[in-house]
Amino acid sequence: MRMTDDLSPRAGVMEAVPTAFGYIGVGIAFGIIAKANGFSLLEILLLSMVTYGGSAQFIMVSMMAVHASLLAILLSVFLVNSRMILMSTVVAPYFKSESMMRNIVIGSLITDETFALGMNKLNYTDHTLRFGWYNAANLFAYLIWAVATVVGGALGTLIVDPQKFGMDFAIVAMFIGLLYLQVIADKTIRLTIQLAVIGFVIVIMVVGLIFIPKNALLLLAAILGCSFGVVLKHGAR
């Protein structure tokens, strides 16, 4: 099942299946952890449906478990999700001609994974996206996430944590795959420049992990990586 130029809602769901696979693994793991920390199924469902963000939810659960202040949790959540602003800014121009309502609907459900999916899709569709395709992919991922986290919470300690089977690696594998597919498919940026940016981000991440909390580092590395890319592209001309 490779990506095609089909922008129908059906294709959106089909192409989000690998994402769903990752969400099932991580979602169940989240449910188990939340349950173990004393959260009810309703609270788990609300966390997934209202906040909807893997890393943010793990942080919220661990901070609420020690009764951290609302402000402290809020700051952490904002920090870990601040890269959403960057991703939404990249996606938004593709929906400029759609209604404001549709723009808000697409924006509301964007995640790291569906963002990466959308960016890859551009390479097959002559750089266009459609509401039907993106919304279907987003909604499918959203529902799978909500269900997986609740199932994890309901099963609780009855089942073995899917992390033991490597299920949590599904999302990492997805990023590796989407990164590779992006690099080979994107003809708008020279390959050498793309590889240089990737190498630069790797260095920033490894060095940065020594002294910058990882949530802040993810955003910083992305911003520095983009800046480095702009400098390279400009210098190459």
């Binding site: 490779r2 990506m3 696979f21 959260f39 009810s40 199924l41 609270e43 209202v50 906040t51 009764h67 609302l70 809020l74 959540v77 904002f78 999700n81 890269r83 959403m84 602003i85 960057l86 939404s88 800014t89 990249v90 996606v91 938004a92 121009p93 929906f95 404001m100 723009n103 924006g107 964007i110 089977f165 490597g166 299920m167 690696f169 599904a170 990492v172 594998a173 997805m174 990023f175 590796i176 795959g177 990164l179 590779y180 597919l181 940026i189 940016v197 990737i198 981000v201 790797i202 991440m205 490894v206 992990l209 020594i210 002294f211 580092l217 590395a221 992305a222 990586g225 983009c226 890319g229």
Partner: protein, 108 residues
């Protein structure tokens, strides 16, 4: 089905902040266009973010010290990259990745 008011408050406020982060650019860019230099900058967001998220999963942070390598994830990345090169198919890549990590964890 207990719902603690502190938990509800945290969820609602965090949800609002996250939602605003997500939709703000869509609302803003409905009426404004970005200058070329910003578009150029943003064209590097996908590879930068995907690389950062991947590397993030390969290390365990110990602030003030060198990060420890997450060896299972590190080793599983090899076959995953290989499967990407061979298959160019996301589902295959994800399945190979998960099986690789499961095998590595079973052996280690």
């Amino acid at each position: 089905m207990a719902l603690d008011s502190y938990v509800l408050g945290v969820i609602l406020v965090s949800g609002l902040v996250t939602w605003l982060s997500r939709i703000f650019p869509f609302v803003l860019l409905k009426h404004f266009s970005l200058p070329a230099v910003v578009i150029n900058f943003l064209s590097f967001v996908p590879i930068s973010i995907m690389t950062a998220l991947w590397i993030n999963s390969l290390f365990i942070q110990h602030l003030g010290h060198f990060p420890a390598v997450d060896w299972p994830n590190f080793l599983a990345s090899g076959p995953t990259i290989l499967s990407a090169m061979i298959s160019k198919n996301l589902m295959v890549i994800v399945v190979v990745g998960v099986i690789s990590l499961a095998v590595i964890k079973a052996v280690m």
